[in-house]
């Protein structure tokens, strides 16, 4: 009952609603799976709802939701595979064959970029999408992903370097998969 009190905080609730499409977009950029992105956003908002007493600063609402989304995404990855260590997750690759909507999409360039991003390790992918899509500051990204800001900068740098290469050599081989589900690979 106590948690529900926080629902009376109308401005935060409205802003959460406004943020929903952005959360979906970000989640999609991380997992490239519309249904999963939707689940992640649903979980994120549900968690936000029951934990909103943790939210102190109104301005921090976005970062706070992004960090919950990050936790939901990590929980999902952990539940799927044997990853225990967060640092392993950051370096893993998570990708899938282009889905139907990608096959039929007319915008080749968009697909090329998405494919290139899908080839980035998860940690890099999260950083570059938060910075480029959500225009988060480095310090915000560091808080959201709970890694030092120096790590953010180096991941971003590696991500952009890799992306540049992927885009110049282009795609051809999306990550292999056996059973119709996205593949998580470990990179040493």
């Amino acid at each position: 009952m106590r948690n529900l009190l926080s629902l009376l905080n109308f401005p935060a609730r409205r802003r959460m609603e406004v943020l929903r499409p952005r959360l979906h977009r970000l989640a999609y950029a991380w997992c490239h799976d519309a249904a999963l992105a939707d689940d992640l956003v649903q979980d994120t908002l549900a968690k936000a709802l029951t934990r909103s007493e943790q939210l102190r600063d109104e301005q921090a609402l976005e970062s706070w939701l992004f960090s919950i989304l990050n936790n939901c995404w990590r929980d999902h990855l952990r539940a799927r595979r044997e990853f225990v260590d967060v640092s392993e997750l950051d370096e893993a690759i998570y990708s899938e064959e282009p889905g139907p909507e990608q096959h039929y999409a007319s915008r080749q360039a968009v697909q090329r970029v998405r494919r290139a991003i899908a080839r980035l390790p998860i940690g890099q992918r999260q950083v570059i999408t938060l910075v480029d899509i959500e225009e988060c500051g480095y310090a915000d990204v560091a808080r959201i992903l709970e890694v030092p800001v120096g790590t953010i900068m180096s991941r971003l740098s590696r991500a952009r370097q890799a992306l540049k290469q992927h885009l110049s050599t282009d795609q051809t081989a999306p990550a292999e998969r056996a059973d119709g589900r996205p593949v998580i690979r470990r990179i040493k």
């Binding site: 529900l4 709802l49 029951t50 900068m153």
Partner: protein
């Protein structure tokens, strides 16, 4: 930007990290100016910067439109919150086009027209057996206009239906209404309370507790009752068939 290892812009060409920081708006005005100068004088650096800028825009552009989830049965989204209760709360809160509202039915039709309720207010009811003569007015804003508004509304409803029961529930900043040392409307409230036996004022116990934790002295008007929390009071009343109006 205060990482020492990226501060070598004075050298021949900035590091990739420094260029990123520039593109991502992480540099101070001075640092930006330096980079701008360098952009003018160093074509190779400018090419690199352009390339990275384009890359950044491509990433952003790639997710301008993302596919929505395919239609399917949703799994329950609220962990640890009883569904019905949550549904009720969301209904209470008048979360019109909210993200969860689509999962729940809207308020029963017809209760948006509560006798004597002026335009601009929405009445919401939870149960099937609704007693239109019992109304909760919920105030969570401390704006002076709102404080007066909730009293105006109570008076209008009571004028229309003198036997009606009205409960004004104040929480968050709305608690100011009932704080003896803060409210601008003390006389009016006490006057109204004397005239209408069926008008009551309820303060949110959670808000009171929070203010006290923050070191604020909370002195409530003698006419105010304290509920364990505003939402508790609202939920209880709505369960009993009261109509809810957010002021």
């Amino acid at each position: 930007m205060n990482e020492a290892d990226t501060r070598d812009a004075g050298g021949i060409s900035p590091t990739p990290e420094y260029l990123n920081a520039f593109l991502d708006g992480e540099l101070t005005a001075d640092e930006r100016a330096q980079v701008m100068t360098l952009l003018e004088s160093d074509p190779a650096f400018k090419a690199r910067a352009c390339e990275m800028r384009t890359l950044k825009e491509m990433v952003r552009g790639a997710y301008g439109e993302v596919p929505a989830a395919p239609a399917r049965t949703r799994r329950p989204a609220l962990h640890g919150v009883p569904q019905a209760l949550a549904a009720g709360v969301l209904l209470v809160l008048g979360l019109g086009a909210g993200w969860m509202a689509r999962d729940f039915s809207a308020a029963p039709a017809g209760y948006d027209r509560l006798a004597g309720l002026p335009d601009g207010y929405q009445a919401i009811a939870l149960s099937e057996r609704v007693d239109r003569d019992k109304v909760i007015l919920h105030l969570d804003s401390g704006e002076p206009g709102r404080l007066a508004q909730v009293l105006d509304l109570a008076e209008q409803l009571l004028d229309r239906q003198p036997s009606a029961r009205i409960e004004i529930v104040a929480n968050s900043y709305g608690l100011d209404l009932l704080r003896a040392d803060v409210t601008p409307l003390r006389d009016r409230i006490e006057n109204m309370a004397r005239r209408h036996a069926n008008l009551s004022f309820v303060a949110c116990g959670q808000t009171v507790a929070r203010l006290k934790r923050e070191g604020v002295r909370v002195n409530l008007l003698p006419v105010a009752h304290t509920a364990s929390s505003a939402i508790n009071a609202i939920m209880t009343r709505m369960g009993q068939g009261w109509v809810y109006v957010k002021v």
